[in-house]
């Protein structure tokens, strides 16, 4: 891991359980890392959330997206634009960025680059 990535992991690992996907969306998801969802879902909870809010895969763990949805509404000091982004359709993960620093990728714009065919909702 490169130096910046090491620092990022040291900060975000213990606090958010950061998986170093290299394209951080914590600000959109109530500061809850979607990569800690066992299915690594980026766009909200799957249909398997249990009646008590437990994860389908790890029943004793609260659904990551349940937590994210709640925190995106209730977390203090979260800018309203971040709260509003909760429902945004996030693009597929770029698996090449795994292990990179998302801070560096943010500065370089690499975390926002999407495949040419990613034009959700657009009609020809």
């Amino acid at each position: 891991m490169k130096p910046v990535a090491l620092i990022e992991h040291a900060v975000k690992g213990p606090v958010f359980g950061c998986r170093m996907c290299g394209q951080c969306v914590l600000h959109d998801t109530g500061m809850t890392c979607p990569m800690t969802c066992p299915k690594t879902l980026r766009n909200g909870p799957c249909g398997g959330v249990r009646e008590d809010g437990g994860c389908e895969v790890v029943p004793e763990m609260e659904c990551v997206w349940l937590k994210a949805e709640r925190r995106s509404r209730t977390l203090p000091l979260l800018p309203s634009s971040w709260r509003a982004h909760f429902g945004t359709l996030r693009p597929p993960v770029d698996n090449r960025l795994q292990g990179d620093s998302s801070w560096v990728n943010f500065v370089r714009g690499k975390d926002r680059a999407t495949p040419d065919g990613w034009l959700p909702g657009e009609r020809a």
């Binding site: 299915k39 909870p45 398997g48 389908e56 429902g87």
Partner: protein, 312 residues
């Protein structure tokens, strides 16, 4: 009449069904397995290794349905394949005339009999909707052109009954914004939750853009309801509902009556375009339910033997 046509015109309530998970025995056995659905439902789901158990593949079943003159709905889940394979499956199925594609995140591998499998989830459900809609617009996710574009009709699912309840309609709306034109809902044993969900979809102007099809399960009795409640993540069966069926003198009949009541309730909700049926009874209940709902007329489906000879 095609599913697309029914979803666009809403000329009558839509009825979709599901091919039982199929393994071996050849086309004759497959045809026997879906015989109860033929001529009763408008289209039939070809499931994608449901509950994470391997079965004859979604694409192969969708093609088999076409060969039998039945309109397939290709279910595609994100659990087992990456984005390359998923796109290849949809485009390959379209080669065989499979038009309807229902995009799901999918049960986890731990729900199945090979829980040690690698889970993929390279895409998630909403992303898959956008990718398949992109195929329909004539492009792979990479941007590479598809000329001519495959004829596809894209759908998705949503669970109206699983937490976070307040967010479910928004999530469904996200899939519709990404291109879904029909929504097959997860089985829901809480009529109040279904009502709230559909009302919210109406408010978000989703029901006019996508045909909402709540799933009604034809369960075989009290044991099946208890099983679903305990073993299927995302499905909660209220204790009173289980008790009502358990305490009936004929629990099999009580389970049918429960499904009939749920179907009537769902179809009466403004914004609901039809229902999806999951049948675990295999005793003619699908046709019985269609008749009891008054949905057994005006089906232009030809006898399957005749249509089969045309499509092969």
């Amino acid at each position: 009449v095609s599913l697309r046509d029914l979803c666009e015109t809403r000329r009558r309530p839509i009825l979709t069904g599901e091919a039982p998970a199929f393994d071996t025995g050849g086309m004759d056995a497959f045809a026997a397995g879906i015989a109860e659905l033929v001529g009763v439902v408008d289209a039939v789901n070809a499931t994608d290794s449901p509950a994470a158990h391997a079965h004859a593949s979604n694409v192969s079943v969708a093609i088999a349905l076409r060969q039998l003159g039945v309109e397939p709905i290709l279910q595609v889940v994100c659990r087992d394949k990456n984005r390359i394979a998923l796109q290849a499956d949809v485009v390959g199925a379209a080669l065989h005339g499979v038009e309807n594609v229902c995009c799901l995140t999918g049960d986890d591998v731990t729900a199945g009999d090979e829980p040690e499998s690698r889970r993929v989830f390279d895409l998630d459900g909403p992303q898959l909707v956008a990718v398949v809609d992109g195929l329909a617009q004539g492009r792979y996710l990479s941007g590479r052109k598809l000329d001519p574009p495959p004829r596809l009709f894209v759908g998705a699912v949503e669970n109206a009954s699983a937490p976070p309840l307040d967010h479910r309609a928004e999530r469904a709306a996200k899939k519709v914004a990404a291109g879904a034109r029909f929504l097959q809902l997860q089985i829901c044993f809480h009529p109040d939750r279904l009502e709230t969900f559909v009302r919210e979809l109406e408010r978000l102007d989703v029901t006019s853009r996508a045909a909402v099809l709540p799933t009604i399960v034809l369960a075989s009795g009290a044991k099946a309801l208890t099983f679903m409640d305990r073993k299927v993540a995302g499905i909660d069966v209220p204790a009173a509902t289980v008790a009502r069926v358990t305490e009936a003198s004929d629990d099999r009949e009580a389970a049918y009556q429960l499904a009939l009541e749920q179907a009537r309730h769902a179809l009466a909700l403004p914004g609901v375009a039809g229902i999806h049926l999951t049948d675990f009874r295999h005793d003619g209940s699908v046709a019985r339910l269609a008749a009891d709902l008054g949905l057994d007329n005006d089906k232009e489906t030809a006898p399957h033997a005749h249509r089969a000879s045309l499509s092969i």
